[in-house]
Amino acid sequence: MISARLTVNDEEREVAFRPSDTLLFVLREKLGLTGAKPGCLNGDCGACTVNVNGTAMKSCLMLGVEGVNQTILTIEGLKDSPIQHAFIEHFAFQCGYCTPGFIMNINSLLKKHPNADDSTIKEFLSSNICRCTGYQEIEKAVKSLLKINREDKAGLQNDE
């Protein structure tokens, strides 16, 4: 067991875990942040996606210790984001299990590429699997958030 401080959702948390525990395991089992989901534990499905220093990362492919001195944002830290509104308005989820991963991926996408083109959107979102929708709803939700399509032009929530 090691003890370390992790900065998650603007809070510094002290947590004890095994050096071989994944960040996903630490978030879920040690910090009670169960928004990031286990789907494959293999980096294939993206359900565990969080933002680390603003970059979308699969938390099953990172060790907890690798999260030390990083700024970690999980779905629980995202408050009233336009992405959440867009997902609801466009019916971009059904069972909801992949949703936190998709939203965190999109959060990173839009911050890096506020006017992402189709191939950039595909490059980001093809790393997550949704088994319920046909992706068309998710595509519409994402495109409604591109700066060129937004009336309010408001920024997305920053985790830094």
Partner: protein, 778 residues
């Protein structure tokens, strides 16, 4: 209130976009032990010995469980040990359970379990399984306990056979001037829900059994643990929170049994099993495979006279729901066509493959792939337009189904109207093939669909409604929220009936079998139908109670009162009223006298006038209604590389009244996506020893973002008169025609008959090799 058809947001929407939505594995497990399953590396082998000593020495291990002492299980035939004993029958079969304090201790110990096997010859396909010299998967088939209406054939690998005998085959063939016959085959695949299955179990000192599970059928978990293990049924309490995708795969009862025996092994302590992805695909039940032969006879003008169908479903190692899937396929074996003379044998066959669970559509996308591909072959042989052939033969009110149910304007949708609508949507009259140059073709393929349900003939659903002091209502139904949005639809139905604000309806998402009224199983596109009727029945109960109290308060007869807009009012004098909130919890007179109390409404609905199927002819009424539709796929095909891209996918579908437009579209599009993935790329890849080579989401590849086509969905509305506001089943139907439409488009594009799934370029190449380019490319 005009709520019917409105795209109301789902009640649990904010839970799901904020990470607060809880699925089974999200509940804290600090008080829980963790189990890990040791699985068989072989498809068919004798278990010679199991060595558990090293595993038991691992720190934190509390129990190691093997399979000698447990009863056989299985829904139709009791053929499945909870943990394998004597021999293993499929790759990935559960052999040993290790229970430890933490998941990683359990994993470490599981890796130290040593099992000695002696390999046996493997049964690789249902066709091979019927060979008289094939090894037997179940030598003891004749001695198993079974349900009454399942017909295993001891001494063979046949787990169940359903027969359809309608009309006279001799007469049918005599009337036929053109005959076609085609064979089809595909292997088992998987549901690949994003949430892997998870179950916890604990047994308290008073004997109460508590289970939490990601299931479509918590009430069936309760019933089966009672039946298998003899626990009093009232002492079994099953909870199911939100479920992260199911698609039929979570309608089978499997992981719950492992959690239960694991808890038994540690004195009733709470034990959790969370499937790893590989075991979710191999150890828990999968999507059924099929070998099929379809023979159709028609007159020269395209009226189909006769159909002879042989379905050999690959039930895998255990029959469980497989022996129900083959029955459902027999029921709708002809596809949505009016055919007078029908012979069908639909079998569930044992093989050494992972065993089958229901899969969205319950064997219909599978049988329709075979039938609808054959329809195209017939159209070509007749020289007839493919949709015209389907239009001429389309099932209509007045026709009879293969099980001889007479259809009427309520119990079947309008297929001819769906075909007409599809023609417009896909510009059918402009032709099926467009040459884009550069070796590229744009090609359209079509398919028609139908489906009824074949669930228990008296399956039912219950709903309770309880008032809050502000006049808002708690809606409690046994339907599981697996993603279909049914519980939001129920709130819409209730709000519409009581003419109230839907925000005043609070829906309980979690199901607890002790406090939630039973809904048989959340399957078969029957949630909205059965629970919708139950909601309406419960609403009537509320209304009569509201009127009864209000009649005292207002000093009028209850019969003169109406309920709506938050009030109970006189029909002829609406200003004489009392607010619902003032009587919902009883009424207090100015002098302090109280009458009534919290109003609780209850309602239920059971399927009615359904019958069992006759053993020899299949005659009988298995389901209440048939949803129908016509679908198409448009592909861009590369003649040089034999690759393709799905450009657009279309559905013209009759789901009766549309209750929530966007939710219904979402169901249809999502099902289409799953159907395209099943048809186009998903399969278990087996090696020569029957082992699955691709039980991971990087080698077993669902569709990903950016690989999706444009979806085009239109609704034809033929209300089902006995359903709440006329809505038909809609959860599965979008999937049903996709594999066939894709197969039809690609067969046309490639100029070869593509009768196997999945439709990967390699398969096109192989078929082209086999046919020696005899069909010159187009």
């Amino acid at each position: 209130m005009g709520l019917i058809g409105k795209s109301v947001f789902r009640k649990e929407a904010w839970e799901k976009v904020t990470g607060t939505a809880r699925y089974t594995a999200d509940y804290p497990a600090t008080d829980s032990l963790h189990a890990r399953i040791v699985v068989s590396p072989y498809a068919h082998a004798v278990i010679k010995s199991i060595h558990t000593e090293k595993a038991k020495e691992v720190f934190g291990v509390r129990a190691v469980v093997t399979g000698e002492h447990f009863p056989l299980t299985g829904e139709e035939i009791r053929d499945r040990p909870v943990l394998a004993k004597d021999k293993v029958r499929h790759h990935g079969e559960a052999v040993v359970l290790v229970v430890a304090d933490t998941p990683h201790q359990a994993k470490r110990a599981a890796e130290l379990i040593e099992v000695e096997y002696e390999q046996l010859p493997v049964v690789h396909s249902p066709t091979e399984a019927l060979n008289p010299n094939a090894p037997l998967v179940h030598e003891q088939l004749g001695s198993y306990k079974k349900e009454e209406r399942v017909y295993p054939e001891p001494g063979t690998n046949v787990a169940n056979r359903t027969k359809i005998r309608k009309g006279s085959m001799e007469r049918g063939w005599n009337l036929s001037e053109v005959v076609v016959e085609e064979r089809f085959s595909f292997s088992p695949s998987d549901h690949a829900a994003m949430e892997t299955r998870c179950s916890t179990a604990e047994i308290h000192p008073d004997g109460n059994v508590y289970i939490m599970t990601s299931s479509q059928a918590p009430f069936m978990v309760k019933r089966l643990i009672h039946e298998y293990f003899g626990v009093d049924i009232g002492k079994i309490i099953v909870e199911t929170p939100l479920v992260g995708g199911a698609y039929g795969g979570k309608a089978s009862i499997q992981l719950e049994l492992l959690a239960f025996i694991a808890s038994m092994a540690v004195g009733g302590r709470k034990v959790r099993i969370l499937n790893i992805r590989e075991q979710d695909m191999l150890t828990s039940p999968c999507h059924i495979g099929l070998d099929a032969t379809v023979k159709l006879g028609s007159t020269r003008d395209g009226k189909i006279q006769v159909a002879e169908l042989l379905f050999l479903f690959d039930g895998g190692a255990y029959s469980d729901k497989g022996a129900d899937l083959n029955r459902a396929a027999a029921v709708d074996c002809t596809g949505p066509y009016d055919i007078d003379h029908v012979w069908c044998d639909s079998l569930c066959v044992y093989t050494n493959h992972p065993y089958a669970a229901p899969f969205r559509g319950f064997s219909h996308s599978e049988l329709l792939f075979a039938v609808e591909r054959t329809m195209d072959v017939l159209a070509d042989k007749l020289g007839m337009d493919r949709l015209q052939l389907r239009y001429i033969n389309a099932i209509r009110p007045g026709d009879t189904t293969p099980t001889q149910v007479k259809l009427n304007k309520s119990n079947v949708g309008n297929l001819p109207a769906c075909i007409d609508r599809l023609k417009k949507m896909i510009d059918w009259d402009r032709g099926m093939i467009q040459d884009l140059g550069n070796d590229k073709l744009r090609v359209k393929g079509v398919s028609c669909i139908w489906k009824t349900s074949t669930i228990e003939s008296d399956a039912g659903s219950g709903v309770t409604l309880s008032f809050n002091p502000d006049g808002s209502i708690n809606l409690i139904s046994g339907v599981i929220e697996i993603g279909t949005g049914t519980k939001t639809i129920l709130a819409q139905i209730l709000a519409e009936r009581l003419k109230m604000d839907i925000r005043m309806i609070h829906v309980q998402m979690k199901v607890n079998t002790q406090s939630t009224p039973e809904h048989w199983k959340t399957v078969a596109s029957r949630g909205t139908f059965m629970a919708g009727r139950a909601v309406l029945s419960a609403a009537e109960d509320l209304i009569s109670q509201l009127k009864s109290i209000a009649s005292c308060v207002l000093r009028v007869q209850a019969a003169d009162l109406e309920v709506g807009y938050g009030k109970v009012f006189l029909r002829d004098e609406p200003e004489t009223h009392v607010d619902v909130k003032d009587v919902a919890y009883g009424y207090v007179y100015p002098n302090g006298n109280g009458i009534g109390g919290q109003i609780i409404g209850r309602g239920h609905y059971n399927l009615r006038r359904l019958t069992y199927l006759d053993k020899e002819t299949g005659a009988g009424k298995p389901g209440p209604e048939w949803s129908v539709g016509a679908q198409a796929v448009e592909i861009e095909y590369d003649k040089k590389h034999l690759t393709y891209r799905i450009v657009r996918a279309f559905s013209a579908i009759d789901i009766g009244t549309v209750l929530n437009e966007k939710a219904a579209r979402g169901q249809v599009m999502g099902a289409m996506s799953m159907g395209l993935a099943f048809g186009g790329r998903e399969t278990f890849v087996f090696d020569k020893w029957g082992r699955v080579l691709n039980p991971q989401l990087r080698t077993y590849r669902p569709l990903r973002f950016g690989e999706h086509p444009g979806y085009h969905v239109e609704f034809v509305v033929t209300p089902q008169l006995d359903a709440a506001y006329g809505a038909r089943g809609a959860g599965e139907h979008g999937l049903l025609g996709m594999p066939a439409a894709l197969g039809n488009a690609l067969s046309l594009a490639a100029g070869v008959k593509l009768n196997e799934l999945p439709l990967i370029p390699e398969k096109i190449w192989k078929m082209k090799q086999e046919e020696g380019h005899s069909h010159a490319s187009l």
